[in-house]
């Protein structure tokens, strides 16, 4: 019973936060609503005993992706007025895209729903810990797709670095290796000298 109450609580918050993402004027508030959406979605997943997925959602999306997202959104100086300017002009395109997506989702989910059958016994629960089950499944049955996904991500990473990496001539950058290798006598000279004993000075 408590679980049901919790589910409806999480679901309400999730839907409200998801709506806030697209309705709130301030872009930082929108990003924060998205954080709340992810967080409650993770809560629902954990409620459904998919604890690994739920926690991974928090670690990856809330803990890393959204922090960087917020980082960028905060630095942008977006004026809400300029955002509303092209609303009428872009409306037809937006409506068409939305309709196409709706049709696609309806056909996908609708077709699936027509052939719906009772789900087989959850293999994750049978194995005891669903973390262990997920690990075994990923690294045995789905090893090739997993590796391909990793490869695609690495390519995207390298591409992002390559796009932003600019070699400019005449820039003096630090070379930490050389800095560490510096010897004392290259920078510092200790001079022994006798006291000059100026007039106004006391010893």
């Amino acid at each position: 019973m408590t679980q049901q109450v919790l589910f409806y609580f999480f679901a309400t918050v999730l839907v409200a936060a998801a709506l806030a993402v697209i309705t709130v004027r301030n872009s930082v508030h929108a990003a924060l609503s998205l954080v709340l959406t992810f967080f409650t979605a993770a809560g629902i997943w954990i409620l459904a005993e998919a604890e690994f997925l739920g926690l991974a959602l928090i670690v990856v999306y809330v803990g890393a992706v959204m922090v960087l997202f917020l980082f960028v959104v905060m630095m942008l100086d977006i004026k809400p007025e300029s955002m509303r300017e092209g609303f009428i002009r872009f409306l037809p395109v937006g409506v068409i895209v939305a309709l196409v997506m709706l049709a696609e989702m309806l056909s996908l989910i609708g077709v699936k729903a027509l052939q719906a059958q009772a789900l087989p016994e959850n293999p994750a629960l049978a194995a005891g810990s669903n973390t262990a089950w997920l690990g075994k499944a990923l690294y045995t049955e789905f090893l090739l797709p997993f590796e391909i996904a990793a490869l695609i991500l690495t390519v995207a990473l390298i591409a992002a670095v390559a796009l932003t990496l600019r070699k400019r001539s005449g820039v003096r950058t630090q070379k930490p290796g050389e800095q560490v290798l510096v010897q004392r006598n290259e920078r510092l000279r200790v001079v022994k000298m006798a006291s000059e004993g100026g007039k106004g000075e006391s010893a």
Partner: protein
């Protein structure tokens, strides 16, 4: 509609049960807050001694009540809000910083059968909670409507995201050797007959060092405290905070430091296991929570020692250390840990008998 009412009724019916759970959940928080107060006092004392000063010595015996005096001072101070600050987020930010710092304690085991939640995915939960704390700092910086606070928040976001990767990798190497995400199992996997040589600090020595340094960076402590950096950006993200709102940030930071001390003791220093385990020395070889607390105390002392010893890192040096030094080392050592696990260099899994 009726089902909703039935649902609500059953919820109310469950309430005594639930409130008992909530009381149990709140139970560890009071000792935590008191130990934060004592830790602040100990920090000021230790740094005082290292600077050849006295430290606090006026309020109470040995100045022990100094931290409480400070808390009451902060509680009675006015909270000022900068003009055009985002009021809601301004008040929310300290709470967001505090809640994960306390929630993380739910899975920390302090003894063999002593943990509030013996969750199977405990380590992952810890990673999730510690990665949430940065939101408090980022929001505080943004909501304050102040240049200095904003700069501090930007620095915090970049730094925490960078060091989280190294920290996560270090934890992954522990997972490989322990064979479990459960923190109690991680400690049990370090049991054996050769005393402290059985613990994970030995096969994972570089990871131990990296984990602790990343923990220092993650809690924004010296020498990684560029988010506060008083010589450059006044007080960083909390420059506009006063009174109890500032006190909450303070509490969250110190609770996080104590958490990192406990975690490095649990992951790498055998948790509640005795350093003389398996040598048959009676009480000295017996496991117990006191060992965990002693180890955590030493690790917590390291935080203070660092602060009194090292000058603050420059921002680009922090980024270089995180991305170009720590992450490559962790990736290489995960491979080493995999080889150790595969070729049987260490015992894998809980209760491994040598």
């Amino acid at each position: 509609m009726e089902s909703v009412i039935a649902l609500f009724n059953s919820f109310v019916h469950d309430w005594p049960n639930l409130s008992l759970f909530i009381g149990l959940i709140l139970l560890p928080l009071l000792p935590l807050i008191i130990s934060v107060a004592m830790y602040v006092w100990w920090e000021r004392k230790v740094i005082g001694w290292m600077h050849v000063r006295m430290g606090p010595n006026q309020v109470g015996p040995l100045g022990l009540a100094q931290a409480f005096a400070d808390v009451f001072k902060l509680l009675f101070k006015e909270i000022t809000i900068p003009e055009k600050a985002s009021t809601f987020l301004f008040y929310l930010a300290p709470l967001i910083a505090l809640v994960p710092a306390m929630a993380a304690w739910a899975v920390v085991p302090i003894g063999e059968k002593l943990a509030w939640s013996n969750a199977n995915a405990g380590l992952l939960y810890l990673l999730a909670m510690t990665s949430l704390g940065v939101y408090g700092i980022v929001l505080a910086g943004w909501a304050s409507n102040s240049k200095y606070a904003f700069l501090g928040a930007m620095r915090a976001a970049a730094q925490v995201v960078s060091y989280e990767i190294a920290m996560g990798m270090a934890i992954v190497s522990v997972l490989i050797l322990a064979g479990s995400l459960n923190l109690s199992d991680v400690v049990q996997a370090q049991a054996g007959s050769k005393g402290f040589l059985e613990w994970f600090w030995l096969p994972l020595l570089p990871m131990f060092v990296i984990y602790f340094i990343s923990g220092v960076a993650e809690t924004n402590r010296a020498p990684f405290d560029v988010t506060e950096g008083e010589s450059e950006i006044v007080a960083g993200f909390h420059v506009e905070y006063s009174g109890s709102a500032f006190a909450i940030f303070f509490l969250a930071e110190y609770a996080n430091m104590i958490l990192v001390s406990f975690l490095s003791s649990i992951l790498f220093l055998g948790g509640w296991l005795s350093p003389l385990q398996g040598l048959g020395l009676g009480v000295l070889s017996a496991p117990g929570w006191w060992w965990l607390f002693a180890k955590a105390f030493v690790m917590a002392f390291l935080f203070l020692w660092f602060r009194a010893t090292f000058p603050r890192y420059r921002y680009d040096q922090i980024m270089r250390l995180g991305w170009k030094v720590f992450i490559p080392i962790t990736i290489a050592w995960i491979f080493v840990a995999g080889c150790l696990a595969y070729f049987g260099g260490v015992t894998i899994g809980p209760g491994g008998n040598p």
